[in-house]
């Protein structure tokens, strides 16, 4: 079992947890992910590692509740435990393999959307600790859904906060904020975008136009996470790649986002149905449109 030593509600339906998993914490690097399984009947859920403490053997995860497994995860308290917690999986972020002096010469931008802010944080923190400057655009639908703003402010050189509804910071998407900065004459050599697929897609459309190489972190449906099932396959530059072993990070300008988004919807009906059933309990009467 993998005990939870810290639990924090970051925003509506978004939770942060520090989980004791020494085998994962020992060698993990920014960009990698874990798979968690809350209990016997739970799904295996991939989550990007948001922070780690090797000495204490801790891994920080951030998740949003979307179905019955994640709802039960949210119900766990400090002292409770995950039944299964495996990792680190996937390849570490390319940035950590690059020469630090070379990185220092680059102007790096991170664009984070929603819960995607969580996996962006350790990368920005890592760069900051290695003396590399970078800017961050982080956005959410509204003020209440913004997470890790204070933490990010400490490690980012310039932090730009956006909300879709304008309830806080710049009104509009991260893509719009990048366009605005560009129009003001701000230039970047490298971009990392992590968030909902639709957001990553539009960031990539813009950065391709602007000529900024862009890395994205893909989060497709997965089962085993070790390359065995092929559920997470994506088209990258016309080739089939498995996000779990070849990724999760890819060249955003080569990813076929439309197809990835379509595949993401594959199980949406069941997920939604399970969530609705849980919320409505005995009063569930088929409003999900799928029950008889």
């Amino acid at each position: 079992m993998y005990p939870i030593v810290k639990r924090e509600k970051l925003a509506d339906r978004i939770y942060l947890m520090d989980v004791k998993a020494p085998r994962v914490a020992q060698y993990c690097e920014p960009g990698q992910f874990v798979i968690v399984k809350v209990d016997e009947v739970g799904e295996r859920i991939p989550l990007t590692i948001c922070d780690y403490n090797r000495k204490e053997g801790l891994i920080t995860i951030v998740f949003q509740t979307v179905g019955s497994s994640t709802e039960r995860m949210a119900d766990l308290k400090e002292g409770d435990a995950f039944q299964d917690f495996v990792g680190p999986l996937g390849c570490p972020s390319d940035l950590i393999h690059e020469d630090i002096e070379e990185l220092k010469k680059k102007k790096i931008l991170f664009v984070a959307g929603g819960v995607g802010t969580a996996p962006v944080y350790p990368q920005v923190k890592w760069l900051h600790e290695h003396g590399v400057e970078c800017d961050v655009i982080m956005g959410a639908r509204n003020k209440d859904l913004l997470i890790l703003e204070d933490e990010m402010r400490e490690v980012a050189t310039n932090l730009y906060v956006t909300t879709d509804d304008g309830s806080y910071g710049f009104q509009g998407t991260g893509t719009a904020q990048l366009q605005a900065l560009w129009d003001e004459g701000v230039r970047y050599d490298h971009c990392v975008a992590i968030g909902p697929m639709i957001m990553m897609k539009f960031v990539c459309v813009l950065t391709k136009e602007l000529g900024i190489p862009t890395v994205v972190s893909m989060n497709p449906v997965m089962v085993d996470g070790t390359g065995m099932c092929g559920a997470c396959r994506l088209l990258v530059g016309g080739e089939v790649k498995f996000a779990c072993v070849d990724g999760p990070e890819f060249d955003g300008h080569l990813v076929d986002f439309d197809q990835a988004m379509q595949r993401q919807r594959q199980y949406r009906t069941e997920e939604g149905r399970a969530a609705l059933k849980l919320q409505e309990g005995d009063t569930h009467h088929g409003g999900c449109g799928n029950c008889e």
């Binding site: 060698y27 009947v41 295996r44 019955s68 089962v223 092929g230 559920a231 089939v240």
Partner: protein, 461 residues
């Protein structure tokens, strides 16, 4: 009773079992087992043993069954096999022990597999466990993967006194026995978990949720954690696809994914969160045992199922028993046919396959007649689910993170057939990671050979 014919084994009726996940074969009872055992000629030069990759003393245990000494029969089997309840169910006996049985020259061979299964089930039901090891020698050996190869290797090493830890990447021990082979062929709780428990009872530690090559590497296990030798039994790996248009559509799965959702994640049970698309009409592409498992699973989830295979009936690589069971359950075999394209609807869901008819051409170098497309014979088969069961290619997780571990052209780990030794001192390997996808019992044979190899290596170290 006619000695030429085997005692028939009771099975669930096809129409009933096609709608449930309970075990198809019900096995022998005591009387049936003793009657079948009486057919054994107890040959002095037992051919059956030569056909067994783990060399079970077959006439020895059958003699005990004939006399009703089931406990002694179990003791004899478990000297050679850590997983008799599994092997009795999934071994291709017809090409191994039973294929060599003298009785089989005229009449049915002795049902060695069903007898093995009976003995293992009887022992489990009577709480009998394999005998524990004697003295522990305190030397640490790591085993990667808890499938048939790993469990066998670990069990044998523990019996020799080694301090063995198995590292398993998934959340449950058993490897392909848990994620791959369906419940209706191999009950998970009753049979697999019980045999894994028997291996644990020998003193083997099992650490789940550890991905070797990611969580920790082989070099780190040997340098930092004090393991003197390592056995790699990590299994087959990445599923293959056909590379035809439409394969990325929704509703197209690898057999690995479809089976893992059902078997490991228990998607067929209401209480479990992991979903699976049952499908109304399912095409399974391929003709091996995994294809049969996927097809019969889809059938039980309520679908009309077609197996599309590019060669003919004779060439189907699956066991005859599996093909027979599949047909009985109403699975339709569309042979000498091959998909050339998957058709996709406006929502990105698969809606069918363009299929071309094939004929068998001249035999190639391997002696197999290769299928050739018949021009102009294409037609469309509608389907809402397509399952690709085309085999696997090796997973690079371990080979790419272990210094000095040689792989071959097909990216399989190179290991000696005799003792499992790889190019890296102290590292041994066996099973699908070495051979590519094969059978449970061949993996067990390799695990057994490697255990002996590791013992010899450590004694001389």
């Amino acid at each position: 009773m006619d000695v030429l014919n085997k005692v028939p084994v009771r099975e669930q009726e096809p129409a009933v079992r096609a709608a449930n996940f309970e075990e198809v074969c019900l096995g022998y009872n005591e009387e049936e087992a003793m009657a079948e055992a009486a057919r054994c000629l107890n040959c002095k030069n037992a051919q059956c043993m030569k056909g067994c990759p783990v060399s079970i003393d077959i006439p020895g245990f059958i003699t005990q069954v004939k006399e009703g000494n089931f406990k002694e029969a179990y003791r004899i089997i478990s000297r050679s096999s850590a997983l008799p309840a599994v092997c009795g169910r999934v071994c291709p006996q017809e090409t191994q022990c039973e294929g060599k049985c003298i009785r089989g020259i005229k009449g049915d061979p002795v049902s060695i597999g069903k007898l093995e299964r009976f003995v293992a089930d009887w022992a489990r039901e009577h709480g009998i466990r394999p005998e524990c090891a004697g003295e522990k020698n305190g030397r640490k050996v790591a085993v990667i993967g808890s499938g048939p190869a790993g469990l066998t290797c670990a069990g044998d090493l523990a019996k020799m006194g080694y301090d063995v830890t198995i590292f398993e990447a998934l959340h449950e021990a058993g490897g392909v026995l848990v994620y791959g082979i369906p419940e209706f062929r191999l009950p998970k709780q009753e049979v697999v978990a019980a045999e894994v428990e028997n291996v644990r009872a020998l003193g083997v530690k099992i650490e789940t949720n550890v991905v070797i090559g990611k969580s920790v590497t082989i070099d780190e296990l040997m340098e930092d954690e004090g393991f003197e030798a390592v056995f790699i039994g990590s299994g087959a790996g990445l599923p293959r696809f056909m590379g035809i248009p439409g394969e990325q559509a929704m509703g197209v799965f690898s057999a690995n994914e479809y089976l893992t959702r059902n078997n490991l994640m228990k998607a067929f049970l209401e209480d479990y969160d992991t979903p699976v698309k049952a499908g109304n009409k399912v095409i399974v592409v391929g003709g091996g045992n995994v294809a049969m498992d996927a097809a019969r699973t889809a059938r039980r989830l309520g679908a009309e199922v077609h197996i599309v295979y590019r060669r003919g009936e004779e060439e189907l690589p699956a066991r005859r028993e599996e093909i027979h069971h599949a047909k009985e359950e109403g699975i339709i075999f569309d042979l000498l046919q091959n998909p050339t394209e998957l058709l996709v609807d406006e929502n990105g869901c698969v809606k069918g396959a363009k299929i071309i008819r094939m004929e068998l051409g001249e035999p190639d170098e391997s002696g197999r007649r290769s299928p050739v497309e018949i021009p102009g014979s294409e037609y469309v088969m509608e389907a809402d689910t397509v399952i690709m069961s085309l085999g696997t290619s090796p997973n690079p997780l371990i080979s790419s993170t272990t210094k000095g571990l040689e792989t071959n052209r097909r990216k399989c780990i190179v290991a000696s057939e005799e003792n499992g030794a790889t190019s890296k001192p102290g590292v041994f390997a066996g099973g699908d990671a070495v051979t590519g996808a094969a059978t449970v019992i061949l993996a067990m044979g390799a695990g057994k050979a490697a255990a002996a190899g590791i013992d010899e290596y450590l004694r001389n170290k």
